[in-house]
């Protein structure tokens, strides 16, 4: 039986949610998941009907689950706003008929900015463990099943690791600090499940390389020089803004979901 990439992603996100909740990594309020899914589906439905498109259940489900996985809040209104901004970015912030912000990331960044006292992200809560992180990376590779996604993930991971390595060599720190940073489970989630959305990554090979390099660099600088712990999310937000420009610099055909390796 062939399960589509999106269904695989949904299953994987659900698995991560279950693990997260049972391991006390995520403290999800009881209302969170139903609220997120319900409001997400309704908002997507409204948007799709205005555009006269088919109701895109899979896409919005992925966004809602990702939000529940990454954004922490104890306030239902904040979660609703997060979903609202996520879906809004898909329909309203478009360039040449294509949204260019990673929707989930847009929702997270807007919430962190508008509600700094009511929402937060907890990247450290997943811990830094070699095997779980490796396992998730392998699953990430298997689920990606698509050259473009893999390219995004690996080129980001290479650039980012290279920056951490440079820092480690410059500071003369013990190797364990470097490996500790690389073992971060949150980093793997970000790498394989956030930045790899083919719709919001540049289409060409060169564009991809530039895109991931800029995210890695901005994320690194925000985290290690400006001490902004949500650095990677902000980095993705700002670099997504450059996507139309990157696509102009390095033009290529639009991404199609059916395209496989």
């Amino acid at each position: 039986m062939i399960i589509s990439v999106r269904v695989q992603q949904i299953l994987l996100l659900l698995t991560l949610l279950v693990i997260g909740i049972s391991r006390e990594i995520i403290q999800l309020e009881l209302w969170a998941l139903p609220l997120a899914l319900l409001s997400g589906l309704v908002l997507q439905g409204i948007g799709d009907s205005k555009r006269r498109r088919k109701w895109n259940i899979a896409s919005v489900t992925i966004s809602c689950l990702s939000l529940c996985l990454l954004l922490r809040t104890q306030n239902p209104y904040v979660l609703f706003y997060a979903i609202f901004f996520t879906v809004l970015s898909k329909f309203l912030i478009v360039y040449k008929g294509q949204h260019f912000f990673n929707p989930t990331n847009f929702g997270i960044v807007v919430c962190l900015t508008v509600f700094p006292n009511l929402s937060w992200v907890s990247p450290g809560q997943w811990g830094n463990y070699f095997f779980p992180s490796l396992a998730l990376s392998v699953i990430g590779v298997l689920v990606a099943r698509n050259a473009q996604r893999l390219l995004t993930a690996f080129s980001f991971l290479s650039f980012y690791s290279l920056m951490l390595l440079t820092r480690y060599l410059y500071l003369g720190d013990p190797l364990s600090i470097f490996t500790h940073q690389l073992k971060s489970f949150s980093l793997v989630i970000f790498c394989f499940f956030m930045i790899t959305d083919p719709r919001t990554t540049p289409r060409s090979f060169k564009g991809q390389i530039l895109y991931t390099f800029l995210i890695a660099l901005t994320g690194y600088l925000l985290q290690f020089h400006f001490y902004i712990r949500e650095g990677l999310f902000y980095a993705l937000f700002f670099i997504c803004l450059l996507n139309p420009l990157i696509n102009k610099l390095f033009p290529a055909k639009e991404y199609q979901w059916a395209k496989k390796i």
């Binding site: 006390e24 990594i25 403290q27 209104y77 706003y81 700094p116 937060w120 830094n128 013990p174 364990s176």
Partner: protein
């Protein structure tokens, strides 16, 4: 410097420059046996809002004052007004009010209803690590500032490279443990300055203190971290560290390590009320939980709004105590116009908009290679380590409900015993013995396995 080599104490977070001799360290806390629960533990209070931090470090150095010295990496050159000396009582009070607590309930007569309870608090002991130093020029070390604050002589150093700083420290009678140079180098490259404190004996005798009071520093920096790498260099085993974080927003957690809640709300057998037993229980439970997390997690033992407590192990801190600890804000929580305001909690006056998080970690270089980096989250859910003893009802149980209660009691005892074994790693047989349960698990398995026993009888 005419005196002998200096000893450095470092609260876990700083240098522990040890020269081979342990210096009667283990004997220091005998008089406080009840509080010396964790060996080699230090306490730090962090007050944080936006980019402002006030840090208070408990000083349990018990050696000769002239041998005390401490070196801490700090993010900026501190002015005299940014350094202060606090009272131990403040930290003790904070510790007491946030300690894991044992509570007792007495079952009510199942035939009637009534309940009362009593709280017994548990304090945590702290010990600081002691170390020793021994005793080359153009150090490229700049003394940025020099002050005497309370009983302390303080130097703020900046350095260009680790070699020079290491030589400066050695020439000034600090003995550096192996590996210190590298760590110093890393801090220098990260733009940190070094705060060096020694005791000014004259000032100390003038002030009349026989012990060393906690040092406080206030600074603005985006970095919200606690340097623990230097302190780990000469410590062979693990060290315990308690971080008491006071914020306006909510709970504090580490961003480069997992923060998990300590197991809580557990029923435990009544014999743990006996002298010393609860402490033993807590210690072993911490150890077990820590092992289960691969020795890599930071534990939350208490996270609560400073305005109230339930049950209270000690009164919450007063406004003036909080001010002395460095809480510099006095306003009420911010309200976002996009979010409807929830109704005020019962009787809450919001007199103090302060949220306390008590973090307890046991660390070594292998599992905690990097310094502790924190973030303040908006999580205001209250949490506490609370353990419960339930005393069975002793009176006559003649009613129907009473009979049911009696049979339920046995199951409850079983559960409590298994629970305790799971939490602490203690042997089940020993627990049964202490609980004066004659037949422990056998009883349970008999009931289950021999289901056929009563069929033909």
């Amino acid at each position: 410097m005419g005196q002998k080599n200096m000893k450095l104490i470092l609260l876990g977070l700083v240098f522990l420059l040890s020269g081979g001799e342990a210096y009667g360290f283990c004997g220091f806390f005998v008089s406080k046996a009840d509080t010396s629960l964790f060996n080699e533990a230090s306490k730090v209070v962090l007050v944080r809002d936006e980019d402002k931090t006030v840090i208070t470090m408990a000083n349990d150095f018990k050696g000769e004052a002239k041998e005390f010295a401490m070196v801490i990496p700090v993010p900026e050159v501190l002015q005299k007004g940014q350094i202060h000396v606090a009272e131990n009582a403040l930290i003790d009070h904070l510790d007491a009010s946030s300690s894991p607590r044992l509570v007792e309930y007495h079952d009510s007569d199942p035939c009637r209803m009534m309940m009362y309870r009593e709280g017994i608090k548990m304090k945590k002991g702290v010990q600081s690590a002691v170390a020793r130093g021994a005793g080359k020029k153009d150090y490229k070390v700049k003394i940025e500032a020099q002050y005497t604050v309370g009983e302390y002589d303080i130097l703020i150093l900046s350095a260009k490279e680790s070699d020079g700083l290491a030589r400066w420290l050695i020439d000034n009678k600090y003995q550096l443990p192996k590996g210190a140079k590298k760590v110093l180098g890393s801090y220098i490259k990260q733009g940190m300055k070094f705060f060096v404190a020694k005791v000014n004996l004259k000032a100390q005798s003038k002030l009349g203190f026989t012990y060393l009071r906690p040092l406080q520093m206030a600074y603005s920096s985006k970095k919200f971290m606690l340097p623990i790498r230097l302190g780990m260099l000469n410590s062979k085993g693990t060290q315990d560290l308690f971080v008491f974080a006071l914020t306006r927003k909510g709970r504090v957690e580490t961003i480069n390590y997992r923060t998990v809640k300590i197991p809580s709300e557990m029923d435990i057998p009544s014999y743990l009320k006996e002298a010393g037993e609860f402490k033993k229980f807590y210690k072993d439970m911490y150890q077990t939980a820590w092992n289960r997390e691969d020795q890599k997690a930071v534990f939350v033992e208490y996270a609560w709004d400073m305005n109230w407590c339930d049950p209270c192990a000690a009164d919450p801190l007063s406004a003036s105590e909080l001010k002395n600890l460095g809480v510099f804000w006095t306003d009420a929580p911010k309200v976002n116009p996009l979010i409807p305001t929830p109704k005020r909690r019962r009787g809450g006056t919001q007199a103090q908009n302060v949220y306390l998080t008590r973090l307890h970690l046991r660390y070594d270089g292998e599992h905690f290679p990097d310094d502790l980096r924190f973030q303040v989250t908006s999580n205001r859910k209250n949490y506490q380590g609370r353990y419960i003893i339930r005393h069975p009802f002793k009176g006559a149980l003649n009613c129907e409900a009473g009979k049911r209660y009696k049979s339920a009691l046995e199951d409850r005892k079983q559960k409590v015993a298994t629970n305790l074994a799971h939490l602490t790693g203690w042997k089940l047989e020993e627990i049964y013995q202490r609980m004066e349960m004659k037949r422990g698990p056998k009883d349970a398995t008999e009931k289950k396995d021999k289901w056929w026993k009563n069929i033909w009888n």
